[in-house]
């Protein structure tokens, strides 16, 4: 698999760090001069851009949060005049007012290159036909992937999300070889294909590049076996750029290379805000160092992961982030133990070898928290004997205790007993009112 930008993607780490520092300093000077929010927050922290003279000095710079972006809605964080902005995207704003981001011509060029690097890392070449099922519009997924595919020279089918039956026909007739989309939509595609009597194994896909939402290793296994392709994880968020911030390489499928010539990642303890060394798990924080319209400094992503700077078999020198295991917002603290829905998903997969619908319900009686894991009984795990079902409950409960260190009551429920919201199961119900 050719590396799209050999010079930058395989650069020795020392040289990479030198580039990072010089680009960081330029970015800091620019935001200090042009974005009132950053000028104020630097002043409050008693620093100016001149005080930052090494990458270690970064930890003196204050963090930027989602709330800060909301407070500056819509254009308050832009660092260039509107006449230089050529594109605007916005997050969905499902949990508050949306965040708006902008791009200059050069930003779009950078983004296209990084997305092209991602597609190449996932095995795509200029000879591939790419079926892009990410939504086109304010969401960065569709257009981000689209521009990257064009930059790579692949042929893009801009099919967007929805209209699933038509997508299946297009897949059959146009013979795309690379599939892109969110993993949950891809699984939906697979279900619809099955209903239509179309087997993914008869289609021409060799790899799929999926992201924009956290998905577990169990889900990867399910997608790979159902669709008969290599499933590659891609990471990005509109606040940093959109898709293309980091990507797994198809050779290792073990951690996502972050394009460190454009972004500086850090891992912090979400509670103490202290920077953690490589290898430790915490909240991912990003600083952009080449963006013009919407530079972002020490942005708290709320995604939980760890960083690994060890050399990768693919030849890339950029640090790898572990597949995101959850978000600080999804994290449940049950009797002092951190629990993510994705961990329960892994346990169910290991325990029963299939992925049933499940839901975590947390209650508090007195001062004691209790966790109930509801599991829908599908035909695959059903038995006509009570003892088999009770053994299964006991085994899942034991596995949860063993892997997560928290006691949980497992409760078998009927199919569709767990509420769905727009096709997605609601994974967590917290009745504690903390």
């Amino acid at each position: 698999m050719p590396i799209f930008n050999m010079d930058f993607e395989t650069m020795p780490r020392e040289a990479l760090k030198a580039i990072q520092l010089s680009r960081l300093k330029t970015t800091l000077e620019k935001v200090y001069a042009t974005v009132p929010f950053y000028r104020d927050s630097f002043k409050k922290a008693g620093i100016t851009p001149q005080d930052i003279n090494s990458l270690d000095d970064m930890r003196r710079i204050p963090f930027t949060t989602k709330q800060d972006l909301r407070d500056n809605y819509p254009y308050g964080m832009f660092a260039v005049p509107m006449e230089n902005v050529v594109r605007i995207h916005a997050s969905s704003g499902t949990t508050g007012s949306p965040t708006v981001v902008g791009y200059t011509k050069r930003d779009i060029k950078t983004w296209s290159e990084l997305m092209a690097r991602c597609l190449a890392a996932g095995g795509a070449t200029s000879r591939d036909i790419l079926h892009n099922a990410y939504g086109y519009g304010l969401f960065t997924g569709g257009l981000g992937v689209h521009y990257g595919a064009e930059r790579l020279g692949a042929s893009v089918i801009p099919v967007s999300g929805g209209n699933t039956k038509r997508q299946i026909i297009i897949m059959k007739d146009f013979k795309p070889t690379i599939l892109t989309g969110t993993p949950s939509y891809i699984l939906h595609l697979a279900e619809v294909a099955e209903e239509m009597g179309v087997s993914f194994k008869d289609l021409s896909f060799k790899a799929g590049i999926f992201g924009a939402e956290p998905w577990s290793e169990a889900m990867r296994e399910e997608i790979e076996s159902k669709l008969g392709l290599k499933a590659i994880d891609i990471y990005g968020l509109s606040e940093i750029m959109g898709p293309g911030v980091s990507i797994e390489c198809i050779q290792a499928q073990n951690g996502l290379h972050i394009f460190e010539d454009h972004f500086i990642p850090e891992i912090i303890d979400p509670i103490t805000e202290e920077v953690l060394p490589y290898g430790e798990t915490g909240e991912l924080v990003f600083t952009s160092i080449t963006k013009e319209a919407f530079p972002i400094i020490r942005y708290r992503t709320r995604d939980i992961t760890s960083l690994n700077a060890e050399p990768c078999i693919c030849g890339r020198t950029h640090v790898r982030m572990k597949k995101v295991s959850g978000r600080t917002d999804d994290m449940l603290i049950i009797r002092g133990v951190n629990v993510f829905p994705s961990q329960i998903e892994d346990v169910l997969m290991k325990s029963e070898n299939i992925l049933p619908h499940y839901q975590l319900v947390v209650d508090r009686s007195g001062n004691l928290d209790s966790l109930t894991v509801k599991v829908e009984v599908s035909d695959q795990i059903f038995s006509d004997q009570i003892k088999n079902l009770q053994n299964m409950e006991a085994k899942i409960s034991k596995d949860i205790k063993e892997y997560l260190g928290v006691s949980a009551k497992v409760m078998l429920v009927e199919p569709k007993a767990i509420e769905r919201s727009q096709g997605k199961a609601i994974r967590v119900i917290d009745n504690r009112n903390i």
């Binding site: 009984v377 599908s378 035909d379 059903f382 038995s383 006509d384 004997q385 009570i386 079902l389 009770q390 409760m411 078998l412 429920v413 009927e414 199919p415 569709k416 007993a417």
Partner: protein, 143 residues
């Protein structure tokens, strides 16, 4: 010599059983025999009906989890020791009964027992050796 039984997963809540039987009624499916095994949270309803295929199809369509299991239907004499005549040879050969339930035979003055064994093939052989009448599946469905 086997009969087919369908089993349905039910949450332990009021009215759930009546919903299943109403679905079967509306599909014109007749229940020959049934047993309900329950725990505090859930139950398993096991049924012998006149039309397994129809029952399974309609219940799945209504979103229930439905399983199929092979069981054996045996006629048991209606006098003291009738059940032991069936069980003793099985016990002496180490066959374990997973569960069983009974219903009255409408044609004769005896009972029909439905057995679920851990080793159904061996159980059938032992019953045959001991001249114990096993009722064919179709005959059970059409009683």
């Amino acid at each position: 010599m086997r009969a087919e039984q369908i089993s349905i997963f039910l949450e332990n809540k009021a009215g759930r059983l009546a919903e299943v039987t109403a679905i079967l009624r509306d599909a014109d499916v007749n229940i020959r025999a049934l047993s309900l095994a329950d725990t505090t949270d859930f139950g398993i309803l096991r049924l012998i009906v006149n039309d397994n295929h129809r029952a399974e199809e309609i219940l799945k369509k209504e979103g229930f989890t439905v399983g199929k299991t092979n069981v054996i239907a045996v006629e048991v004499d209606d006098n003291p020791g009738g059940l032991n005549q069936v069980l003793d040879p099985l016990t002496s050969e180490g066959i374990n009964v997973e569960y069983m339930y009974a219903f009255a035979n409408p044609n004769r003055k005896n009972a029909i027992m439905i057995f679920r064994f851990d080793n159904i093939d061996k159980a059938i052989k032992i019953l045959a050796k001991n001249n114990i009448a096993v009722i064919k599946g179709e005959d059970v469905y059409n009683l």
